[in-house]
Point group: C2
Chain length 433, copies 2
């Protein structure tokens, strides 16, 4: 018997818990070769700057540039790419950009302050980062939508300068990516990539200004480089494969569910598509849809491997159990493909994004609904959030203690400081009594 | 001539920029021995669970426990520690706890939603993490105030379970730390530490529940272990040495400034205390205060080393230049020790916490003003924030697209998806037209 198109599991199976864990398990092995290479590249870029970046870009990307200036794409080229788009594409990109901006403007956080009777004022100020770097992969994972999703929150946050890096192996540029950069208001674009691009952004070179934070997905070298420069600059999460979890109550067209699973699976072989449903007959219908529709998909090979290796149709006892399992999985994308999604919503504690009801499909969220498509993967929605304006701002505590307030607080601080054996702290407080 | 008590710099010096960089430079060397040891400890705890934790705790901390149960401190012991405090200490701890709670309650973020004319609703939900781990160092850096500052934001965020770990070398417990844990509502306390404690919290063992995020400072092994489990769980920043930057206009008592510099320096030899002032005569008076007061400090040796190795009195041209330099340094603690601090405040873009005016001294903020004392170090205030309620919550995008909304968005999504070569995305969207 050949391997099934997609695994079938049931929460009744005696080994269900360990089967589920095995299904979800994905830990990118720490490759010591990658670690060593990245460490050397970072050291080289720190010491030799532009010369190192140029040499590594020639070696890894086949660039023919003889100066860093040749590796920068001028604003005029970005604008030309935008103007060269087919009108339908341009209109779609502009609508996506506007909707993403509108949604993210709601994430701007205000300063606040609380005042005490004695005049003391305590508060928090929210300010943008000065300059950020956005990594945009080259080749097949080079997505204009990701340029918007990474750059717009920074723009809305008030970041003054956005530097984009994107490798162009053999000099091949993606006009949609450049057009998206123009629309999003990216300030400078360099055609560099890999660990050398991350190092250049973190430490700066003669030509590339040092940034305060680096966001965006990349291969194993990029991910390792981000880990290594963390602390020197901020980074976003190190992204794992993309995932969708669909909860179905057996309502709705099984073809829709099958295509939603495909949409996740077509990203790459390691992407994960899981369906939870208490209705065994419906699961069989979805499987039938998968079988029938798969042949029609241009990326059928990728989808087939992804579904076979990492996909699953899971029969659950009831909708409560589906929610419990969903909370354990804490999926990047969760679709509530049910008649009464509002009844389930309060039971979901962990997910990157929740798509509520049959019309709310992930593909709309990926491109143009407005919310960010950069979401926590690999169960990290338990503790982290979609990329947002808050990732490009930071808070500062603002502490204004009045003379009277200091007199009241100083003895308290001194007592605690003496208890910790920190006498200078105590005396510094006591001076203000 | 002996080494001066503290360096004197001037922004007029020809090498000022590089001198300042050298002063701030602090990169904890990546010790390959530490990396290897931590990697082995994590692997061991993952495989052997409790047995590994117990064995490592016996080896490194001299514990005589023969079971994990013996390494847990029961709630009754925490309560007993609280009840055993001197009444002045208890009152101080309670006041600090209340003020920290009040301040952090202001950080709770509301859910929000925006609605469109076609019935589409887009929003964001904010929910607490389920369970978090707090690392509290043992020995001389075991601070009850840090227990409050780490646990209270989690409590205010609504985290259901807080697990504290703290090593007790040779079994020695710090009653103030246990009392603070009782006050803050910590749920369970284990007397374990080092990389083994971090591994146990990240992966769980038979006795120690796996958490979703680990916060709190620690030594090089703890820091490396946190880096390694990042992704599996959330972590807070890897903290560097503590720093204060004082901006003075020459007003105020130089003894106060000297003592504020001492309060930072007494933490440890690597702590950093810097003063910026345009008034050379005032700098000389502060230096005189340092010389006179140093002899009176119980921790004079630590202060002397810290000031000599990492401290500086810097003469600046004017207050504008002081603000520019402060933005470059992006200090953990910034004191505006000036007559008119409100005039400077708008010019400060980067700092963990700003202490405004002569009465607002860091020592009050460290213990009881209310804002968190866990702040970004090592210039990371450029891109990160004080520890807060937001570190113990995460956001979920909630996407409710109406039938009409789907009809409008589907063609846009499909156009962009075809442009990216993702046909299943396009068809998944088109089904909803």
């Amino acid at each position: 018997m050949s391997k099934p198109l997609i695994s079938r599991l049931s929460s009744d199976d005696v080994d269900f818990k360990s089967d589920l864990e095995a299904l979800l398990a994905f830990e990118s092995a720490l490759d010591s070769g990658v670690q060593k290479a990245v460490s050397e590249i970072i050291a080289d870029v720190r010491v030799r700057g532009d010369a190192a970046v140029l040499e590594l870009t020639r070696r890894f990307d086949g660039a023919r540039a003889d100066s860093m200036a040749a590796l920068e794409i001028p604003q005029a080229d970005l604008q030309a790419a935008l103007e060269g788009l087919a009108s339908e594409q341009r209109a779609a990109l502009e609508m996506a950009c506007k909707r993403v901006r509108d949604y993210h403007e709601r994430q701007i956080q205000p300063d606040w302050e609380m005042q005490e009777a004695n005049g003391t004022r305590l508060g928090q100020r929210v300010t943008p980062l000065d300059r950020v770097g956005i990594y945009v992969p080259g080749g097949k994972a080079s997505y204009p939508s990701s340029v918007l999703m990474n750059a717009m929150p920074a723009k809305v946050a008030g970041v003054q300068e956005i530097i984009m890096v994107t490798p162009t192996p053999e000099g091949e540029r993606n006009p949609l990516v450049l057009a998206a950069a123009a629309l999003a208001g990216v300030d400078r674009v360099f055609t560099i990539g890999g660990a050398q691009a991350v190092a250049a952004l973190a430490y700066g070179t003669e030509s590339i200004p040092a940034v305060d934070k680096i966001v965006g997905p990349g291969n194993a070298y990029v991910a390792e480089a981000k880990r290594r420069v963390f602390g020197r600059v901020g980074i976003d999460m190190v992204a794992g494969p993309s995932e969708v979890l669909v909860i179905s109550d057996g309502s709705g067209d099984p073809d829709w569910v099958a295509m939603d699973l495909f949409a996740q699976a077509e990203h790459d072989e390691k992407a994960q598509s899981i369906l939870l449903c208490p209705d065994a007959a419906y699961l069989a219908r979805v499987e039938e849809s998968i079988t029938r529709l798969l042949a029609t998909m241009p990326r059928a090979d990728i989808i087939r491997t992804s579904l076979a290796d990492r996909g699953a149709l899971i029969h659950v006892r009831d909708m409560d159990e589906a929610c419990e399992i969903a909370n354990y999985i804490a999926a990047e994308h969760l679709e509530l493909s049910v008649e009464d999604p509002e009844a389930l919503l309060p039971k979901i504690r962990h997910a990157g994004a929740i798509f509520v009801g049959h019309w709310s499909v992930e593909a709309l969220g990926d491109y143009c609904a407005g919310p960010n498509h950069v979401l926590p993967t690999g169960r990290s929605a338990r503790f982290s959030s979609p990329l947002g304006v808050y990732d490009f701002q930071k808070r500062t505590s603002v502490i204004r203690i009045s003379r009277q307030g200091a007199a009241e607080l100083a003895p308290v601080a001194a007592t605690l400081a003496y208890g910790e054996g920190l006498q200078a702290h105590a005396r510094s407080a006591e001076y203000r009594k």
